[in-house]
Amino acid sequence: MAEISTSPALFAPGEVRRPALRERLSRKVWGVAEKIATPLAPADYLDMFNPLRPGADLRGRVVKVTPETADAATIEIKPGADWNGHTPGQYVRVGVDVNGVRHWRAYSLTHGPRKDGLISITVKAVPDGKVSSHLVRRLRPGKIVHLEQAAGDFVLPSDLRGHKFLMVTAGSGVTPVIGMLRNLFPVTDEGVVEHQRLDVTVVHVAPSRPDSIFIRNLESLAEAGAIRLVTRYTGTEGRIDIDTLTELVPDLRERKAYACGPAGLLDNLQAWYDEAGLPLQTEQFRLATVVTSEGGTVAFTGKTVDAPGDKPILDAAEEAGVLMPSGCRMGICFGCVLPMKEGAVRDLRNGELTVARPGETGPDGVPIQTCISAAAGECVIDHPAS
C-alpha cells in the first residue's frame, strides 16, 4: 500500500484507480461465480483442478519422502500459494487422512525457507502412532495434505551477534534445531558454508547413533567447525542429568539455551534454569496426553458441569441448566452435535472412546453427539452455557 501512495505524481490518474477497479471487478466476478455454483462454493469446483491455488484452503502436495533412519522419514511438501513462509525452528500443523479419518499433528520444519519454495518435515514413527506411522511408511508423492500457517516462537533472535548458543535436543527433538542450523550454515556440494561466525554447542541425546535422525548432518557440521557437537547415547552411556550436562558444557550459564525433546527432560531442564534464574527456550514435540476416566467434567463457555460416566452429556448439561441443541436423543439424527476442543467421551452404545487432544485435532475440534456420549475425562466443549 505504502509504495503506491507515496508518489501519486508518477501514476496517471487512471492507473492509480486501477487496482481498486480490478478488485471491484474480481469481487463482482466472484459474486457471479457464487450465484452459479450455489449450493456449493466456486472453490469446491476450483479445488478439483488446483487445490494449491491462491485463495484455497491451505494445503500442500507431497513431493518426496526420504527415509532418514529405520523409522523416520523426511517429507518434502509443496505448500499452497498462500503459504506465508516461516522462520527456522517453527512448526507446521499437518492434517492427513489416516484410514479415512482426518488427523492433525504438529511437526517442526526441518529446513529454513528454501529457494525451491518447498517445506520439509521429519517424522519419526512412534509405537502405536497412527499418524506418524502413516506418514513415514504409507505416504506417497502426489498426495495432498492439509496445512496451517507456520507457528511457534522456538526461533533464534533476529540479531545473532554477541550470543553464544546451547541447543539440547533429545530424540526427534532435533528437528526444529536442524531447521535452524541448516539456515545458519547452508550446505553446498563443497561442504558446509559457514557464512556467520557463531559459537553453537549442540548436545544431542538419543538411545543410539543409528536411532538418531540427522546425526550425519550434525556430524558434518561439527567436522566443518560450524558447531561443537556433544552426543549422548543413553543406550550405552546412560541417562543424562544436569550434572553431566554442566560437565559436558562448562560455559553453560553463558549460553542462550534452547531445548527440544520429551516432557521429562524439558521439565528437569526448566526447573534447573528457573532455579538458576536463567532463561530457557523450550519446544515440546509430543503433546500432553488426555487422561481418560469414568465420567468427568464438561466445560462449556461460562460454566463447567459434572458429568457421570453413565449419563449422556446432553442430559447432564440440561440438568445443569445449559441450553443444548437436541433431537432424537438416541444417536441417529445428529441434531445435537457440538465440537469438543479437548477431552474424551465414551459412546454409551458400544463403549468406544473419542479423544480430542489439543493440537492433534482440527481447528474446530472433534464434533461429538452429546446425546449418546458420556464424559470420560475433563472435556471442553465449544458451546455457550447460556
Binding site: 450455489t38 449450493p39 484410514n99 479419518v101 433431537g327 439424527c333 445428529f334 458400544n350
Partner: protein, 416 residues
C-alpha cells in the same frame, strides 16, 4: 390396552415374538452395526470422495455441454447428465451426508453440520424433519410427517373424509414439484396455516426458518432459471438451457418422490398408532418398528447409487448413520435375521414397489372396503353410494362408510 409381561408391545406381525426375542434381535442387530463401525475406513472414505468427484465432474460437464444446447444432441446429453448429477447430489451424497453417515471422517467439508444440497429445502430444516422426526417416529401415524407428508390418508385407521378423494391428484402434483413440497413440509406449512386460521401467530423461530427457506429457493431458482440460461445466451442457447434445467429438476423431483414412496408406502408395510408405542420403547422395539415399517427395492448397482441406497431402506432405517455403501454388504445378514425371527423382509423391483405404493394411495383415497367390494358389475351403484357419502350429513356418511367396510370384508372373505 394392557400388555402381558411377556407380550410384545404391539400385536400383528410380531405376535409370535416374546419380549426376550425382540431384545435378542436388537442385540444381534447391534452386533452387525458394530462390525461395520470396526471396519469403517479408507475404502469407505475413498467411496464418498469418488461419488462427490463424479457428481461434480458430471454437473460441470453437463453444464458445459448445455452451453451448446441449441444443438439437439448437446441438449439431450446435457439434460440427461444434469438430471443424474442432481439426483446424485440429493440422494447418495446430500441425504447421506446430512444423516451424519460420513461425520466419522472428521472432514470439515463433508460433514452433516455444514453440508448444503441442490434442493429448495434448507439442509437445516430437512435435518430436523427428516433425521429427527421421521427417523425417530418412523411410520407412527400423526407423528411422522413423512407418512403421507401430512396431506394424505395412509392408514385404514385414519378417518376418511370426502377430501381424501383428492389425494391421488395431490400426490401427483407433489411428485412434480417435490423439492418445494419437501421445503413446505420441513416448515410444517400446513400446521402453521391451520394455526393462523385460529388466530395464532407463527413463532419468531419459524419466521426465521421461513425466511431462510425463501432465500434458498430464490438462490436455487436464480441459478437454474436465470444465471445459467443467461450465460448460455452467448451461444443463443439460453432458452434450451432453461428448458434443460426445468427438465432436470422435474426428473429429480419425480425420481426422488418415487424412491421415497417405495420406502414406506407399498402395500404390506406396517404403520403404527401412537397409542401402541410404549412410552419407554426399548432399542429392540425401535428396531422392530424400523424393520416392519420399511420396504426395499431390488435392482442393479446403478439403481442403488441413484436411489442413494434408499433401495436398502430397511437397512437404512435400522442403521441410519452407517455409510450408505455398506448397506448392500450387510443386507444378507439383516435378511437372515428377518428369516430367523420370521418377519417379512419387504423387497421387490422398483416398478412393482411404485405401483404398490400408488395402489395404496388410491385405495385409501376411497372409504375402507370400497375398492375391495367394487367390481365391473356393481361399479355404477358403488359410485352413486360414494356420492351420497360425500354429499350426505355426518350420520349418513358414517352409515355408508360402515356398509363399505362390511362389504369389503365380505368380498375379501369370499376371495379366500
Amino acid at each position: 390396552m394392557t400388555i402381558a409381561p411377556d407380550a410384545p408391545a404391539y400385536t400383528g406381525p410380531i405376535a409370535h415374538l416374546t419380549r426376550d426375542d425382540i431384545e435378542q434381535l436388537g442385540r444381534e442387530l447391534d452386533a452387525i452395526r458394530q462390525e461395520v463401525i470396526d471396519t469403517r475406513g479408507e475404502r469407505d472414505a475413498a467411496y464418498i470422495h469418488k461419488v462427490i468427484k463424479v457428481q461434480r465432474s458430471l454437473e460441470l460437464g453437463s453444464r458445459a455441454v448445455l452451453l451448446a444446447s441449441i444443438f439437439p444432441p448437446a441438449f439431450v446429453v446435457g439434460t440427461v447428465g444434469l438430471s443424474i448429477a442432481k439426483i446424485l447430489d440429493n440422494m447418495e451424497i446430500g441425504h447421506n451426508i446430512m444423516h451424519g453417515q460420513w461425520d466419522w471422517m472428521r472432514d470439515p467439508k463433508i460433514h452433516s453440520t455444514v453440508w448444503e444440497w441442490d434442493n429448495a429445502s434448507t439442509s437445516e430444516g430437512w435435518k430436523h424433519s427428516h433425521n429427527e422426526l421421521h427417523h425417530t417416529y418412523t411410520n407412527i401415524v400423526g407423528k411422522d410427517n413423512d407418512l403421507g407428508w401430512g396431506i394424505m390418508r395412509v392408514d385404514e385407521e385414519q378417518r376418511w373424509t370426502p377430501s381424501s378423494l383428492f389425494q391421488p391428484a395431490m400426490n401427483f402434483i407433489n411428485m412434480c414439484i417435490f423439492e418445494y413440497g419437501i421445503a413446505a413440509y420441513d416448515l410444517e406449512l400446513g400446521r402453521v396455516i391451520r394455526q393462523k386460521k385460529k388466530g395464532r401467530r407463527p413463532t419468531a423461530e419459524w419466521q426465521m426458518a421461513a425466511k431462510r427457506t425463501v432465500a434458498k429457493i430464490r438462490r436455487q431458482a436464480f441459478k437454474d432459471y436465470v444465471a445459467h440460461p443467461l450465460v448460455s445466451m452467448v451461444t443463443l442457447s439460453g432458452p434450451t438451457t432453461l428448458l434443460a434445467n426445468v427438465i432436470a429438476n422435474f426428473t429429480r423431483n419425480v425420481w426422488t418422490h418415487s424412491v421415497i414412496m417405495c420406502g414406506h408406502f407399498p402395500e404390506g408395510v406396517e404403520t403404527f398408532e401412537l397409542k401402541d408405542i410404549p412410552e419407554n420403547e426399548t432399542r429392540g422395539e425401535w428396531y422392530v418398528r424400523q424393520m416392519l415399517g420399511s420396504a426395499n427395492i431390488s435392482g442393479s448397482k446403478f439403481l442403488h447409487v441413484m436411489s442413494g441406497n434408499l433401495s436398502h431402506q430397511i437397512e437404512h432405517h435400522i442403521f441410519p448413520d452407517l455409510p450408505s455403501n455398506r448397506y448392500a454388504e450387510i443386507a444378507p445378514k439383516v435378511r437372515a435375521l428377518f428369516d430367523k425371527y420370521d418377519l417379512n423382509y419387504h423387497t421387490a423391483p422398483m416398478p412393482q414397489q411404485v405401483a404398490s405404493a400408488w395402489h395404496k394411495v388410491v385405495r385409501l383415497s376411497l372409504p375402507n372396503g370400497f375398492l375391495e367390494s367394487t367390481n365391473v358389475r356393481n361399479a355404477p351403484k358403488q359410485v352413486v353410494k360414494l356420492v351420497k357419502a360425500v354429499r350426505g350429513d355426518t350420520r349418513t356418511r358414517r352409515r355408508l362408510l360402515k356398509e363399505f367396510e362390511a362389504a369389503g370384508a365380505a368380498s375379501v372373505g369370499k376371495a379366500i
